[in-house]
Every structure is written in C-alpha cells, then in structure tokens.
C-alpha cells in the first residue's frame, strides 16, 4: 500500500511534468501540423536558465522559498517563451510555404543547435541544483507521507493547465487559435492574423516546457544538456497518447503516462521504465492512432 501510494504520487508529479511539455508539442502540431523537435531542448534551456537565475539572484534567500520559486518560474517562462518565439521567427516562419518536410528538418537542426549551445555554455557534465531551495518536509496525507515538492509540482501544473484551458476555450484569442488549428484559410477569411496565432502558440508552449525544466531541476536536483531528448520523447508519447492536436488530450496523456511508467518501474522492473513508456506509444499507434481524446467529431462533407 505504502509503495503503491508513493509510486502513484511520484507518477502524478512526473506525469504533470510530461503534460506541461506535451502541451507545447500538441499546440504547435495543432496549428502547423509540425512536430517541433526542438521543443525538448527548450525544456532543457528552461532547466538551465532556472539554475542560473536561482544561483545568481538568490531570490529564495531574499523573499522566501515559495515566492522565490514562483518569481523564478515566471522569469523562466518569460525567457523560454521569448526563445520559442525567436525559434518560430527564424527557423519555421521562412519555411511556411515550403513542403512540410523542410520545416521538420529545420526543427531537427534547431534541436541540435540548442543542445550544443547549452553544452558550450554550461559544459557537458551534470549540473546540480542547490539542495536547500524548498523545505524537505513531507506532508501527511491519511497517514502516508508525501514530499512537499511533489505536491507543489502537481498543484502548480494543475493551475497552469487550468489557466491554459480557460484561455483556449473561453477567450477570443483562444478561440482564434482553435479556429486556425481547424482551417487556416477559413480563419484568415474571418480576419484572424494566422501568423500572430502561431506566435501565440510559440509563446505559450515553450513557456510551459521551460517551467517543466525548472521543475525537473528542483525535483531531481540534477540536470544535463541531453535531458531534453528523453523528456521530449516521453512528452511526445504523451501527446500521441492523448490525441495529438488535442489540448486536454495532452494533459490526460501526460499524467497517464507518468503513472503507468511509475507503476511499471515499481512492480515490473525499474530498468524497463523507458521501455514501458514506448510500449504504450506502440500500442496506442496500433490500436487507437487518433489517441484517447482525438477526433471527437467527424467533419461532415
């Protein structure tokens, strides 16, 4: 029971991180039908920027751990969003009218560029987050102890995903994003500036991915310049699991994948952790290629 509960909460926290990254993949895919292979590296950049800001500004010492980490998260989101917007402007927008494969190659190039830039700046070795940022306390839930950080990760992710969902579903710009994802030409006929919609998507997705990088740094305490590869692939799996292009799908897919992986690691073998995640990907591609929440309504022709 104890082990099950620990693995469940661990899976939920990791799953929430996957979900945050998966949102970036799914939103870009929704509007551009492009897999942004550089997205995992934006996550890495978020982790490294978080580390740099954490050690250089020492915010947590000045304004306390909770406020310090919150301000840090906002700064990381802002900076990574900016890098995301630049990525679109320089690597994808010039290829908007080109065949889709060109943009995919450009995405792979951007990924290599980011990865190597991080390596050149920070070095190839693992970097360590300071250990005393958040109190190491555990919260008592019905007699079972859960580390505070797990709960904070889960809560913060839920708040951010809720805010994003509200933005996409209820606001005018959010509706425009959904419209552009369905039919760009028709969206332009409505007077929607599709390039601005795409810019919006490249601000929101990287912001979420960047803050997920910060979370991983705080949770595991160790980061590396290649971490974006595995996390990116897992989040991509989560996006497919939920139905790529579908925003609630990415949230559900991420959390589900995190839990499946944690349970698999606990009850099968920890060595099989990644294999289990990719088995999920293969199974979903065979039996339900549209994902769990994909294709809600068939278009009438």
């Amino acid at each position: 029971m104890e082990q099950f509960f620990q693995q469940l909460t661990n899976g939920l926290a990791v799953g929430a991180i996957y979900a945050l990254i998966a949102l970036g993949y799914t939103m870009v895919y929704g509007v551009l039908k492009l897999i942004n292979f550089a997205h995992g590296d934006l996550f890495t950049i978020g982790a490294y920027l978080g580390l740099t800001l954490l050690t250089s500004l020492a915010l947590t010492e000045h304004i306390g751990p909770v406020w310090g980490v919150s301000v840090l998260a906002v700064m990381v989101m802002g900076l990574v969003a900016l890098i995301g917007a630049l990525l679109d402007r320089l690597a994808y927008r010039p290829l908007r009218e080109s065949p889709r494969l060109s943009a995919v190659v450009s995405a792979l190039g951007a990924s290599i560029f980011f990865q190597n830039t991080v390596m050149l700046i920070y070095g190839a070795r693992f970097q360590v987050y300071p250990q005393n940022i958040l109190p190491k306390t555990a919260i008592n839930i019905f007699g079972l102890y859960v580390p505070l950080i797990r709960i904070l990760i889960l809560l913060a992710s839920i708040v951010m995903m809720g805010a994003l969902y509200f933005f996409i579903q209820k606001t005018k710009v959010g509706t425009a994003i959904r419209a552009a994802a369905i039919d760009q030409g028709a969206a332009r006929l409505m007077g929607i500036d599709v390039n601005r919609v795409i810019l919006m998507v490249f601000l929101l997705g990287p912001a979420m991915g960047g803050v997920a990088g910060l979370m991983v740094g705080l949770y595991y305490g160790q980061i590396n310049f290649t971490m974006g590869w595995v996390y990116g692939l897992k989040a991509f799996t989560a996006a497919i699991l939920g139905g790529i292009g579908n925003i609630p799908g990415a949230m559900v897919g991420g959390i589900l994948l995190g839990v499946i992986e944690a349970m698999g690691a606990a009850y099968l073998s920890i060595a099989w952790k990644d294999a289990i995640a990719f088995c999920v990907l293969i199974l979903i591609l065979i039996f339900r290629p549209t994902g769990l929440l994909g294709e809600r309504v068939a278009e009438k022709v």
Binding site: G185, M190, V297, K300
Partner: protein
C-alpha cells in the same frame, strides 16, 4: 463603384489561371459570376479576399487598393466571404463560429446585436447555438457559413457556390435568405454553377471561361442569351 477589379492576373506556380479580368460591382447590386469548373471563379473571389495574391492588376474597394493588403486586413475593410465548401470550424459550436465571424469587431454590444439579427433571420441557428458545427446538416452549415460571414457586418458579401450539394428546396431557401440580406443593403458577388437560380436573383452577370471574362450583361439578357442557354440550361436556343 463599390468594387472594381482591373486587369487582374493570378498565377498558381508558373501557371496563369486568371488572364487579366475586369469586373465592376455597384453598391447594393447582386452580381453573379457563372462558368464551368476551372474557369477561375473561385480564384477571383479568393483574390479579392487576399487569400491568393495577384501577380498583376488591381482590386479597388471604395477606391482603396485591396490587393496589397493581407487577408486578415481585407475583412476589416468590409468584405466577407462565404467560401466554397462552407469551411465550418466543425469542432467549435455554432455560437463560437459566429463569434469568429466578428473577430475584427471590437464593440461587444454591436456583436450581440448582429448575432441576434442573424438568429432572427436564420432561426435554425438559434436553436442549435450550443451544438458543434460539424454535427449540422449541409443546409444548416450553409446557413451558418452565411451567418458567420455577416457577423463582420460587411458592405459586400462574396459567396462561392452556396447551393453546392444541397437539395432543390434548400437551394430555394438559401436564395431567399440572400435576397433578404441584399434588401438590408448588403452588396453581393455570387459565384454559381446553378445559373438559373443565380440569374434570377442577380442584377447583372459575368460569364467566365478558362481564366477570361467572355460575356457581361444584365441578368435578363444573359438569361435569354442563346450561348448561355446552350451552355448552362442544357437546352437549345429558343
């Protein structure tokens, strides 16, 4: 002159599909463009809306050049298009589709008034306002496409084959609605394959053939024109 197209040429890649067409629309008119598949009717409408770019020539709206504007700015000038095949946002609700039609409009009270007017004119949309647009029938979707375009309160409405794929009774309904809309002062350019219905509704018409305008006249004359009759009404000249 509300809308004026001067010597408009459009290329898809290296192939020219509009070979310098001229077309005029006066305020309050309904002008129809007839022609077979591939004549360039839809391309003409898309070029007005800015979705395809002119390789040369010009489009003026109220004397202002349109052909240099990006598509999303054309809507702000007062031009809305009901595109071929309706192009609904199928996974959005009817109401959301209508709201998107008013995307360029900032005044929310105005948007609400326009929406109520559309619901009054097309009551089937009001009944289904919270339903996903993709679940509507073909005729209802066409109504929604028209309603959506009207949400921007256009001075001119471009319609690309609104009768396509609809039963005769529905076609009649759609054309009646168009007449009502025109009576409120909205100018229209109507691209149609259903020549008889289109000419009955329109004041004037143009006939296109492989990227050229070959005939231009008022509707009554076109209706009795022997070439038009042979080509579009399937009968022999009377």
């Amino acid at each position: 002159m509300l809308l004026e197209i001067v010597d408009l040429r459009v290329k898809y890649g290296s192939i020219e599909v509009l070979h310098g067409i001229n077309l005029k629309v006066r305020e309050g008119e309904i002008v129809t463009i007839l022609g077979a598949n591939g004549a360039g009717k839809s391309t003409t409408l898309l070029a007005i809306s800015g979705l395809v770019k002119a390789s040369s020539g010009a489009v003026y709206f109220d004397k202002n050049p349109l052909h240099k504007l990006p598509a999303h700015k054309v809507v702000q000038q007062g031009i809305a298009q009901v595109p071929e095949g309706r192009r609904m946002f199928g996974t959005l609700t009817v109401q959301e589709n209508l709201s998107l039609g008013a995307y360029t409009c900032k005044d929310s009270a105005q948007i609400k008034r326009t929406r109520e007017w559309i619901y009054e004119m097309l009551p089937v949309l009001a009944e289904r306002r919270n339903q996903l647009a993709g679940t509507l029938s073909g005729g209802e979707q066409q109504m929604l496409a028209i309603g959506r375009a009207l949400m921007s309160q256009p001075k001119i409405l471009l319609l690309d084959e609104p009768s396509l794929g609809l039963a005769p009774l529905l076609v009649k309904m759609i054309f009646q609605t168009l007449e009502e809309i025109n009576e409120t002062g909205v100018t229209m350019v109507l691209v149609e394959q259903n020549a008889r219905a289109a000419l009955k509704l329109a004041n004037r018409g143009y006939v296109m053939e492989v990227g050229n305008i070959v005939l231009e006249d008022d509707s009554a004359s076109l209706m009795s024109n022997s070439e038009v009759q042979a080509a579009y009404f399937g009968g022999t000249p009377a």
